[in-house]
């Protein structure tokens, strides 16, 4: 479904993404595991086309078409969406309206279901504004609900667990699995091995490139043993992919 080939991004002379190759299958939850500063959010922006990021080189192929030249809207209309690590707040836009404009051929009553799936009580949230009165965790869960409402072909989830308390984390992981059951492929970007447990495959990101891909348990263990204690962050050693 998604094929990223030799992707490169150089900003102000600094190589941020460095020959990255990535393949996400239809129906797959693909975890991207990386420490801070390895380029996780940059990959999300490059695939979604946000933050004005354009690849210096390489291809982003989605369902057979190179989408690198498309706008954010065009990519979304093709079925890709992004849940931000720190979602925006929009004064005057209610949760109901936000979910409704995200909704893909759904019925109005389903908006409530999407909120329940992320552990939010619809009666308390549907008519609230997506503004500063929401906590970071509430805003993140609403972002997940809007992705569920959209039913994208590919959901890019950038650190969906950040700002989520330990009690709510299982709900969030369940909602990602539900999203996958609904038919969405998921690119699950995180620095937490716990979160990648629900993935089908996990890739490890270091210095803007994928250095290893494999089954979740094995790859997460390798990440824990090698990346958590790594003294050469952003200087990957030669490792088999």
């Amino acid at each position: 479904m998604l094929e990223v080939q030799n992707l490169q991004l150089t900003l102000n002379g600094n190589s941020i993404i460095n020959g990255l190759d990535l393949h996400v299958d239809r129906g797959e939850i693909h975890g991207i595991l990386g420490e801070n500063g390895t380029g996780k959010t940059t990959i999300a922006n490059l695939i979604m086309g946000t933050n004005n990021y354009k690849p210096t080189a390489g291809k982003i192929i989605f369902e057979g078409q190179d989408i690198a030249g498309l706008s954010v809207s065009q990519r979304a209309q093709k079925g890709i969406t992004l849940a931000w690590q720190e979602p925006a707040r929009v004064e005057g836009l209610t949760v109901r309206d936000y979910l409704a404009l995200s909704r893909h051929n759904g019925q109005a009553d389903q908006l409530e279901r999407f909120l329940l799936m992320v552990g939010l009580e619809p009666a308390q949230y549907l008519d609230r504004d997506i503004d500063a009165t929401l906590s970071g965790g509430e805003r993140k869960r609403i972002e997940m609900a809007s992705v569920l409402a959209m039913r994208p072909k590919l959901a890019i989830l950038d650190e969906p667990d950040s700002g989520i308390d330990i009690v709510a984390l299982p709900l969030l992981l369940n909602s990602i699995m539900e999203m996958n059951k609904q038919g969405s492929s998921v690119l699950l970007i995180t620095h937490s091995e716990r979160v990648t447990e629900i993935s089908h495959r996990v890739s490890i990101l270091c210095a803007g490139t994928i250095i290893r891909t494999g089954p979740p348990a094995e790859t997460s263990l390798w990440f824990k043993d090698n990346c958590r204690t790594c003294l050469h962050i952003n200087e990957p050693v030669d490792e088999p992919k």
Partner: protein, 318 residues
């Protein structure tokens, strides 16, 4: 009661009222208090128990005296409709409001000038909110698309002990033209004032907003809030002033102006002043372009860029 000779004129106002977002059924329902004024002619004046509306036609407009009797709780919103259907003209509204002690009323005013090319609409209001009375006032304008209108709403409001004044002035449909909004509120002990202005300027619209709140009584509270979005070559200057002059008075000035484009000009002048050591007044003012991340958030759900900006603008002016 509707004058037969102006029935057609009245229908024109009702149609324009609906076009401006008003619910015309409210103007046709018998148990809803209403006042409809076209140019300097009173087309309908239907008071209700607990509420008197006295009017006097003048050469260039109408003098209106609106009295809410002591302790009266008006169950349904009172509808005021002012307007001018011709392309040119002057309408001056002199308004005196006396909401007596312990009364409660909500007033919805629609000011409609759908064909304005050279129109002046002035309102001078003198408003007294009695002790523990509550007065909600929402004024919405519709000016058509030519921008040939000058609107000058001015009000002096006194809110007595424990009273509440809440007003919203909204001008987000059609062109603004030239706006010179000037509302000044004095709050006595434990009185509350909330002023909100929401304006969408386009073309060469010229917008001046001046909100002043004097917190003169102990425990008085005030909020001067403005939301302005500008496009094209529109200009706006927003002055929000709050004065904390009594112990435990609390005030806040909250101004956001969004500039969409490269030629619009936005200015914000917040003034906060405290003359009592136990008072506290704060302010926040933000001027900038529409947040790119907000736009991209909506685009990532499939909206095109123009629609995303529209959703954000409508939200901020909601």
């Amino acid at each position: 009661m509707i004058r037969y000779s102006v029935e057609k004129e009245y229908q024109g106002m009702i149609d324009a009222y609906e076009m401006a977002g008003g619910d015309k059924r409210a103007l046709q329902t018998k148990d809803v208090a209403k006042l409809v004024v076209h140019e300097n002619r009173v087309l309908a004046n239907d008071p209700i128990k607990g509420l008197k509306i006295e009017t006097k036609e003048t050469k260039s407009g109408v003098s209106v005296k609106l009295i809410v009797e002591e302790g009266a709780k008006i169950p349904r919103p009172v509808h005021l409709c002012f307007g001018l259907l011709p392309k040119e003209g002057l309408q001056e509204i002199i308004m005196k409001v006396d909401a007596k002690d312990n009364s409660e009323v909500s007033v919805i005013a629609h000011c409609i000038f759908p064909n304005a090319v050279k129109v002046i609409h002035k309102m001078d209001a003198d408003i007294n909110i009695g002790a523990n009375a509550r007065f909600d006032y929402k004024e919405t304008h519709y000016h058509g698309e030519s921008g040939g209108i000058e609107v000058i709403p001015k009000a002096k409001v006194k809110v007595n002990k424990g009273g509440v004044w809440q007003s919203t002035f909204a001008l987000s449909q059609g062109m603004v033209g030239k706006l010179d909004y000037d509302f000044e509120v004095v709050c006595l002990e434990k009185a509350i004032a909330e002023l909100t202005v929401k304006v969408y300027g386009k073309g060469t619209d010229d917008i001046k907003i001046w909100e002043k709140i004097h917190l003169n009584g102990a425990g008085a509270r005030g909020l001067a809030k403005s939301r302005v979005v500008l496009g094209d070559k529109a200009r706006a200057e927003v002055r929000g002033e709050t004065y904390g002059n009594a112990p435990y008075a609390r005030g806040h000035v909250d101004c956001i102006e969004l500039v969409n484009g490269t030629e619009a000009v936005a200015t914000a002048i917040p003034i906060v002043s405290v003359t009592n050591g136990k008072a506290k007044v704060t302010h926040e003012a933000a001027i900038g372009s529409i947040d790119r991340k907000q736009v991209e958030t909506l685009m990532a759900r499939g909206l095109d860029e123009d629609r995303a900006v529209d959703v954000i603008v409508k939200g901020i002016l909601r």
